[in-house]
């Protein structure tokens, strides 16, 4: 999976390209580590090119969300596919994130 992080002012856009399955989550978690320690701003997770997410991926999203919440920042999940929206709904994540 490709993770492209672009920081403009206080908004950090993270573009996730490909499948966020269990092995991919382990890489993504490492990419997210700096974001977790500096989550006071707005983090936009651009999912327009993410075709799959497993529970380990959801776990990373949740960890980021918790970090942002504790630092006064916010996490926006952008452009998720209908199938992934289904997974978000199933797990109650729709209520935890701002979805665009």
């Amino acid at each position: 999976m490709e993770v492209i992080i672009n920081k403009e002012d206080s908004v950090t856009t993270v573009r996730l390209v490909g499948r966020l399955d269990t092995p991919a989550s382990q890489d993504v978690a490492q990419h997210f580590e700096p974001l977790m320690s500096d989550a006071a701003g707005t983090i936009v997770l651009d999912c327009s090119e993410m075709s799959y997410i497993s529970s380990s991926g959801l776990r990373i999203f949740l960890s980021l969300r918790k970090a942002a919440a504790s630092q006064g920042g916010k996490v926006i999940v952008k452009s998720i596919s209908d199938d992934i929206r289904q997974v978000f709904m199933m797990t109650g994540f729709l209520n935890l994130f701002e979805i665009q």
């Binding site: 092995p23 949740l62 918790k66 935890l96």
Partner: protein, 730 residues
Amino acid sequence: MDISDNLKTLARKSAGTGLLLIVVAAVTLEATSLIQYFSSQRMLKQEASLRAESELRSTRNQIMDIVDQAEAAVHNSIWITRWCLDYPDSLAVVARRIVEENPSVMGSTIALVPGYNKKLPLFAPYVCRTADGTTELKSLATEEYNYPAQEWFTEPLNYGFGYWSEPYIDEGGGEVLMTTYSVPVMDDAGRVAAVLTADVSLGWLTDLVGNVRVYPDAFSVLVSREGKIMVSPVEELNMHQSIQEFATGAKDTANFNVLADGMLSGKAGNVSLKQSRRERLFVFYAPVEKTGWSMAIAIPDSEIYGEIRRMSMLVTILMLVGLGMLILILRSAAKNQLKVSQLKEKKDRMENELRIGHNIQMSMIPKIFPPFPERKDIDMAATIVPAKEVGGDLYDFYIRDEKLFFCIGDVSGKGVPASLVMAVTRSLFRTVSAHEKSPQRIVTLINESMSDMNENEMFVTFFCGVLDMTTGHLRYCNAGHNPPLVLTDKIEFLPAIPNLPLGILPGMSFQEQEMDLSYDNALFLYTDGVTEAENLTHEQFGEARMQDVLRMRRSSQENLEAMQKAVADFVGAADPSDDLTMLFIHYLNDMQPDETERHLILHNDIQQIPQLADFIETIADEIKLDQGLAMSLNLALEEAVTNVILYAYPEGSDGLVDVEAIMSKDKLKFIISDSGKEFDPTAAPEADITLGVEDRPIGGLGIYLVRNIMDSVSYERTDGKNILSMTKKL
């Protein structure tokens, strides 16, 4: 309740009727006996009066005989006396003849009227009977006797005809009671010349009157013209007291005076004299003509009524005893009736409770058939026919995680105690099997619970099975129950180790067995109520007949009905001796015929996970799944496999994960197995997806997703393998 109320009312009514009956009976009896008493009394009095009067008449007649004799003796001698007047010396001869010819005449005199014979101013020769039977001549013409002044002399002269003197005691002649009859004698010229007398002894009167015994305690009294008591049972009174004198000192003087007046006036009649509060004296009296006497017969009323009083006393006692018995009988009858109605009520209540018990029992077991109408892979039927209202048989089944848990059992004994143990057993089965998948564990745990509290030495034969609906794998454990029949291409008994029944031995270890069922195989579970059903000749239905019934292939329900009918036909008119319980399980997993299998074997390495995506893609192409469903299935499979890699195999160890996909028309099934340590993902608690960001735990979503995506998920540990089955309906 209505019926028992009515019965009570009836009992009360009949008790009331009984009381009325007693009162009517009592009144009738009392009235009858009173009428009888009074009419008897009247009759008895009448009879007494008749008897007294007849006695009086007879006594009077006897007295009159003697009196007449004496009078006749005197009268017959008048003419000769008159003839002898001129020859006074011959008068003594006349007197002697009177005495000698009349035995009742004790003495006789012919006393000349003073002055009639100039030569003999006083002349009265007297002849009397002596003790030796001869006669003695005396002269009454003595100075001191002065016969012209004597009553026997004066009275006839005064009256001019025969006169009976007042009785007197003859002092000269041995203290004998005497009376004298005297008549005036005229001479041819019609002048009164003499008085002719005959002394009549009345000693016989005492015997005659004294012997009048109308009744044993009755007595007779004879009184003179003047009222002097001549004869009575009381010696001192005789010739000493008059009846008038006696009356003044007697009880009930008023009536006594009536009696005295009646007797002295020479009439006949009767008087009732009150003697005491309870005693009366009935006195019947009648005159004795010529003499002026009156005779009375006194009868104490106790003599007259004694018998009837005794009788009426007896009747009263009998009546009271009868009434008492009637009351007792009626009371006990009413009590019995009440008891009967109470017993009936009790019986009704017990029957009602038993009926409720039966309903509760029946509500405990699944009894809607088919039980899983939406499932095509199973066809079940079951029935319990208790021999009594409640029974000790049980069956139960349910499906959890694609496993059919089922059991059948038979509690020792029958009736209410057995039904209670049955209820306990069924509850234990449900409680224990909610967390256990191994029949051996289920049976062991139930046995522990039951052995602990089994104080009544009741035990349960029990068979428990767990059928994996997806694989047809059957695991079972027997606890002393009849081995079920298994129907494959033949009918045979399921090889079942008997073990001990439940509730006998705590700590008992039970052995579990297993076999695989294929499409269209079936199990028939039953209690010994089927095999041991007896007909009138005590022949048992037996296993052979039972097997025969199942040879024809039918639906589960039809099989049970056929078996029930076969047993009923066999038993005939005999009473059902035991509960009849059957459970028929027809396994119809239709995946088998046209299914396709795909296999994927992974190492316990997370990096192998992407292979699952390719695996799913192949399958999705093959059975034409849409992309969304494919992604969901991929997700579920990934989560399940990840769990195995992360938890079943310790880090660093090497192992394989076997992923099998079984595809059929309407469902897709994954079976994920591994040889790692025991790990049951389905045992993890459900994730709570309603929690907020702060409270939300990071983990726990994996199995949650699996459950949500798949239609059924089940885990089992067999042969050292974790086997997770997941099915998705298509």
